[in-house]
Symmetry: C2
């Protein structure tokens, strides 16, 4: 955590402002007489609440029923091929609960029981092997927290501001603690032949989702995972077993993993040629753009999370991440990038995982052009959209990690805008 005195508003100044906030609440209550929520015994203090057997497995309280994954209907032809976005404007901290972590499938979320799961490793290996689920969990496990981001996250924003909410502009991301077996352990079992340079990963659903991964990555930090945030993967996240490819685009994290083939060259399958390649201004496409570049987004205030309290002490909250390592710094601008101030990071800082940042300031009620800018542990600085476009044009929907702008109006409402 950085020193909070480095910000534009000093700690003392902030607290002085906040005291006024506290006083305001008391004042409001006094205006209509004593606050009955303080002076009167409330119903919930006069009767028993739910017993512990009420919910063997609990769900969020009904007051939070708006904190759910949401689709954008016009984005795709049907809900099978669509995306349900994480409500990042309502979340805080760094962990994403499985229940509202974004989902995207290529042939729908299938139901595959553990006894029916098989993983075959074949191709350029000494010993082709088939693993059952019970075989898998006899190997040494590891736990790591990683973000998964779809390559198309923010893709609709390449050409300009489109979707009015960070759930939709940046919600194709989640961050979980995975438990799994390093893929290198399983490959060592099979014995990769010297000519084995690539690995094909394939899922068990009807899309036969498959991607080629270079052997170097496959032997590095890739996990064959069976738990997320402590419990079994959810159906929509690939139960019972999915691939975890840290820092690389989400479509490579093959769900319902069924087959690993070792080869001497990439397969150039459908999802790495017609899709998930980046078409440039001249019509040619970049390929093998696996790594997710450093990126950040202010989640509050944002179009779905306006400032409702009027001028005074205000908390800006956001997320930052990098496929290359951890986040070293985040900067926030209130004026569309003219001036930048250091944000405060708080919480766990893991390589290739989400980081939470905050910036507290005393809002004077005037318009803001909010931006955030991440710097990762390699020194890479998140670029502007203009900088991205100057090199990559506007033909792609993938790998937009440009700095994003929210226009906060005097009434506290926020809107997705683009400034030049």
């Amino acid at each position: 955590m950085t020193d909070t005195t480095k910000k534009g508003t000093t700690r003392r100044g902030f607290l002085a402002g906040a005291a006024a906030g506290g006083a305001l609440a008391a004042t409001a209550a006094r205006a209509g007489g004593p606050d009955p929520l303080i002076t009167e015994v409330q119903p919930w203090a006069q009767s028993l609440g739910d017993g512990v057997d009420a919910t063997p497995y609990g769900m969020p309280i009904h007051f939070e029923s708006h904190v759910v994954r949401r689709n954008v209907e016009w984005l795709t032809a049907d809900t099978i091929s669509s995306v349900n976005f994480t409500p990042i404007h309502e979340l805080d901290g760094t962990i994403t609960p499985q229940g509202c972590a974004f989902e995207r499938h290529h042939a729908g979320a299938i139901e595959l029981a553990k006894p029916d799961w098989r993983l075959m490793i074949h191709g350029l290996v000494e010993r082709p092997l088939v693993f059952t689920y019970d075989d898998l969990i006899r190997f040494p496990r590891e736990n790591h927290t990683y973000f998964l981001e779809c390559a198309a996250n923010g893709g609709m924003e390449w050409a300009g501001a489109q979707l009015n909410g960070c759930q939709f502009t940046h919600g194709m991301i989640h961050n979980m603690e995975y438990t799994g077996i390093p893929l290198r352990t399983l490959l060592a079992e099979a014995g990769v032949k010297p000519e084995g340079k690539w690995v094909l990963m394939e899922g068990a659903d009807a899309s036969s989702m498959s991607r080629s991964i270079p052997i170097g990555k496959a032997l590095d930090d890739v996990l064959v995972a069976f738990k997320a945030n402590g419990e079994a993967l959810r159906k929509e996240h690939g139960y019972p077993v999915r691939l975890v490819v840290p820092g690389w685009e989400g479509n490579m994290w093959v769900k319902w993993l069924r087959r690993v083939e070792v080869g001497d060259q990439p397969w150039e399958h459908r999802e790495e040629t017609s899709k998930y390649t980046d078409t440039m201004a001249d019509g040619r496409s970049r390929r093998w753009t696996w790594e997710m570049d450093a990126k950040s987004i202010i989640t509050s205030p944002s179009p779905q999370a306006p400032i409702t309290h009027g001028p005074g002490p205000t908390v800006i909250s956001g997320l930052a991440w990098s496929g290359r390592g951890s986040i070293r710094e985040v900067h926030v601008s209130l004026d569309g990038g003219k001036n930048w101030q250091q944000a405060r990071l708080s919480g766990a800082s893991h390589d290739k995982a989400l980081h939470r940042f905050y910036f507290e300031f005393d809002w004077n009620g005037s318009e803001l052009l909010l931006q955030s800018r991440a710097v990762d542990s390699t020194g890479y600085v998140q670029p502007t959209k203009e900088q991205l476009r100057s090199f990559r044009g506007v033909n792609s929907v993938y790998h937009n990690n440009g700095i994003h702008t929210w226009w906060v109006k005097t009434n506290g409402e926020a809107e997705n805008v683009e400034i030049s």
Copy 2:
């Protein structure tokens, strides 16, 4: 992570065994002809699965419906005052999902909406204050991962082995990433008078659950928390706001927090006199035993999670934690404490948070007396139950952090036993 070659079974030895495991699966399939799960196209690969709109907020897949909180009916008179234990034998990693994180209430889980929530700070302060929820979230937030353990976790085991499963012997614990405001920030708003040495924390439910906390702890790492694992607290965990008292016994983590009073001495309320004090052999009681001592438990194998695969490569998995800091080492014994070997820690290591350990070995099918022993960052070593009893007798149900034993039989089943 420690070097895996430090274990009784070498890495090479383990992998050789595991290869046999993989081969076994293939053999089994061959015995009845080709494995149709490999050779035939399966139903889930021939039709579309669920669309992304199926579950805006998802639940675990039905195959995992046994992974739930469970009560022990005879433990208390009714389910209001009872405990629903975390299914730690089925979880892995370090994070506990809110949905199955243990719950215990003193007057049931109440429903309290954010607009109805108030927090009053009064007593020996310069400025008595009332905070609304909207006031609260305008202060600078922090994110920290902490375990919460009930002081009575393992309490039924003081006199000897009783409950056959780690869910029941050690499941009054969970570990979450909390987002909240440091209590010291709110106390600074109110201005603690020099004579203010203690703080009373009180909940809004009918039990008026209240505990005295010394001012030093209140100004240290205590959080007024409103999110856990990224999302709103669940109803049963104190929605919308609870106290987080890192490393200290769970009953002090007051739920539905409504009142903070600053005083010059402790209040000696019901829950810190008749309850949550430790009766010694001579009938006198220890009080203010807030801090949770270092502890560990093997979660698998255990009575609810037997070894089902027969002799060969076997993974022992468990949890370790300390209210004083992080976990430095965990040792595992296969023979009831005669010989100890170093376990491998994997995953996040935060102060006052759960740590995950593993120990891989080649089981020869003979009986085991499994034990684990934690060493925390202060150098404290988890004691045996005999050591605990020699100082504290058997009259208390609180603060049993003794080394626990599972007897694994030749058929892989495990039983809760005590050895002298």
